[in-house]
């Protein structure tokens, strides 16, 4: 349905909590709450979607939503300090106000994923929307609708892993198989060492009735996709989430297109089969 209004107005939100995720302090998670009840009610999202986060005076930038919609009233964004806006955001504190416009883009294909096994593959700080997906699936009312859940998550070093407390909780569960790997270990690390594609090769479930969801840095994705192909995952059941420079988030400003698809509107979630039909420009 067409909505004729100003599509650029963000909802005001309050920073409730800031969590430093990594030892180099370059990645923080921001817990946000809605100021207005009506904004909270209007913000209905699913794992995989993103939103435009406003830091007034600096502008807006798109971030995947890291929280699960099963936790109502709370939005989380895990943000790497990279440019002007994220640098300013990293200096903000509890009680400060930001703006959020969304939810935007496509979600993971949850309906089609139901009743199948899931292989979630994440690397580095692209793990955010995967974390939303995992928490969504683990929610009591949802867990029964999905099959076996296998998670492979990697970072450069143990200190660069996100959501360390949550990883520990997931490890205790018997309805999730978690494999955390690091490229280079330090003294205290007892887990797996090695890159994500190798871990996937070792632990992936049979491809027969499994969805693979891949989010990570380009190199990880490039070397993981051939592994999935060798394991006979059909491209229709390999799901990726793309990053692109965005401004409007609603398919108008013209910069995030790959061919005639706009990543903001038609993505950011695509299946490998869909991506193969698009020009290789991302």
């Amino acid at each position: 349905m067409m909505i004729a209004k100003n599509p650029y107005l963000p909802a005001p939100m309050r920073i409730e909590k800031v969590t430093v995720e990594t030892e180099d302090r370059s990645i923080k998670t921001f817990d946000l709450s809605f100021i207005r009840k009506e904004d909270e009610q209007a913000f209905r999202y699913l794992p995989g979607q993103f939103a435009q986060l406003s830091v007034f005076g600096k502008g807006e930038a798109p971030f995947g939503i890291a929280s699960s919609p099963t936790r109502s009233g709370l939005l989380q964004f895990t943000v790497s300090r990279a440019g002007l806006l994220t640098r300013a955001l990293h200096q903000m504190e509890q009680g400060d106000l930001v703006g959020v416009r969304g939810p935007l883009g496509s979600s993971f294909p949850l309906q089609d994923m139901e009743s199948r096994d899931l292989l979630v593959i994440g690397g580095g700080f692209a793990f955010t929307t995967l974390r939303s997906l995992i928490n969504y699936v683990l929610e009591r009312e949802n867990r029964g609708r999905f099959g076996k859940l296998t998670v492979v998550y990697g970072a450069r070093t143990p200190g660069m892993l996100l959501y360390k407390g949550e990883l520990e909780q997931w490890r205790q569960r018997d309805d999730l198989e978690l494999h955390v790997t690091v490229d280079a270990a330090d003294g205290g690390w007892k887990g797996r060492i090695g890159v994500v594609p190798n871990a996937v090769s070792d632990v992936a479930p049979a491809a027969d009735d499994t969805y693979a969801v891949v989010c990570g840095p380009p190199a990880m994705t490039r070397y993981t996709l051939p592994v999935l192909e060798r394991l006979r995952f059909p491209p229709e059941r390999v799901v990726l989430s793309l990053e692109m420079k965005m401004k409007c988030g609603i398919g108008m400003c013209g910069r995030c297109n790959i061919g005639s698809s706009y990543v903001c509107r038609d993505g950011p979630v695509f299946t490998l089969a869909e991506l193969r039909r698009l020009p290789p420009e991302y």
């Binding site: 909505i3 004729a4 650029y8 007034f56 005076g57 703006g99 398919g251 013209g254 910069r255 061919g259």
Partner: protein, 345 residues
């Protein structure tokens, strides 16, 4: 629809009457540049022009537009929206290529699941009076890309210069209301209808034939890795004038102007010809050189537009041809694509 005739020397009277009930925007000569401005007297209006230096696109899609103002005070955030445009407006004397561009911009800003309310309000407030081209320029190619010198697309009324008279025809219901309100006109007779038809045929005869949008789309779908792209961009200096003067280019940036406490968020024209347009904060750029950017501009207009909307995103106004500082001619590029792919077949 109704058509009437107005003696050319009565045009001032007609404009004067329009000025009574509407804000009128029309082509004016501003130091040698033809631009669309609000006018307050008929004497300012220039109708004997080929095409305006700047397209009238900015009346609906301003180069800079405030989307909201913000003010932060303690735990309070105030957001103030601009008031949507109001008042009856007439855009008078638009060439058919530019009028058609409005229908293309509508698809972008008001054609999908999301709609820019401010854009739509501006569009709805205007009655567009087109001015057919009896003498197209050498750089015009509207008929190649789905338009024509007498195309009515995007116009509510079409005016044709018949030498001694203006032939004024209603195109839409909105246009019919305007034509009905005109005084000093007489009903179009058979002779004037014949002369209008002849003028159209004469104008069309000076222009090249149509390029099939579907055909061009299919050619470009096979040309992603063609060596043509390595060569094409070499003389392009990336100035972006082609996009800034283009009546269909719709890319924009969104930026904040002001402090953390007080300021406004702006929507500002941007260009796919600039390297920063697609540069990620990480340093990665999916279109790092002129090659990818030129391919994007051409593919967007002649492949992606057709894939998404069934018609090309170019109206053939020729401004990019006339104003390119290094004479990159998009018509020659299209010809080359046609000849290249013919060879392969």
């Amino acid at each position: 629809m109704r058509a009437v005739l107005l003696a050319k020397n009565q045009i001032s009277v007609l404009l004067e009457a329009l000025l009574q009930g509407h804000e009128v925007f029309a082509p004016v000569n501003d130091g040698g540049l033809i631009v669309f401005r609000q006018v307050d007297s008929p004497q300012q209006v220039v109708l004997g022009y080929h095409n305006s230096t700047l397209p009238p696109k900015r009346l609906f899609f301003p180069q800079t537009e405030t989307v909201f103002c913000y003010g932060l005070e303690g735990a309070q955030l105030a957001l103030e929206e601009p008031q949507p445009a109001s008042g009856e407006k007439v855009l008078f004397g638009v060439r058919p290529c530019d009028a058609r561009s409005f229908t293309l911009l509508d698809r972008v800003f008001a054609g999908g699941n999301h709609c820019d309310g401010c854009y739509l309000a501006r569009r709805e407030n205007y009655t567009v009076v087109g001015l057919s081209c009896t003498r197209p320029r050498a750089t015009c190619f509207c008929s190649a890309v789905g338009g024509g010198p007498f195309s009515t697309a995007g116009s509510d009324v079409l005016v044709t210069d018949l030498g001694t008279d203006y032939f004024i025809e209603a195109v839409t219901d909105k246009g019919a209301v305007l034509v009905e309100s005109l005084s000093g006109c007489r009903e179009a007779d058979e002779d004037s209808i014949r002369r209008r038809t002849e003028a159209q045929a004469a104008a069309e005869a000076t222009l090249r034939g149509a390029i099939s949008a579907e055909d061009m789309k299919r050619r470009l779908q096979e040309m992603w890795d063609d060596p043509l792209w390595d060569r094409l961009h070499e003389k392009c200096i990336g100035c972006g004038v082609c996009t800034y003067l283009c009546p269909t280019c719709h890319c924009f940036d969104i930026v904040d102007e002001g402090s953390e406490q007080r300021g406004r968020r702006l929507k500002i024209w941007d260009s796919c010809m600039f390297p920063l347009f697609t540069l990620h904060a990480s340093g990665h750029n999916p279109r790092p050189t002129g090659k990818e950017r030129w391919r994007q501009r051409l593919m967007h207009k002649f492949r992606y537009w057709t894939e998404s909307h069934g018609e090309v995103g170019c109206v053939g106004c020729g401004r990019c041809v006339v104003n390119c500082p290094v004479n990159l001619d998009i018509r020659q590029v299209l010809n080359e694509i046609e000849s290249l792919t013919k060879k392969v077949e």
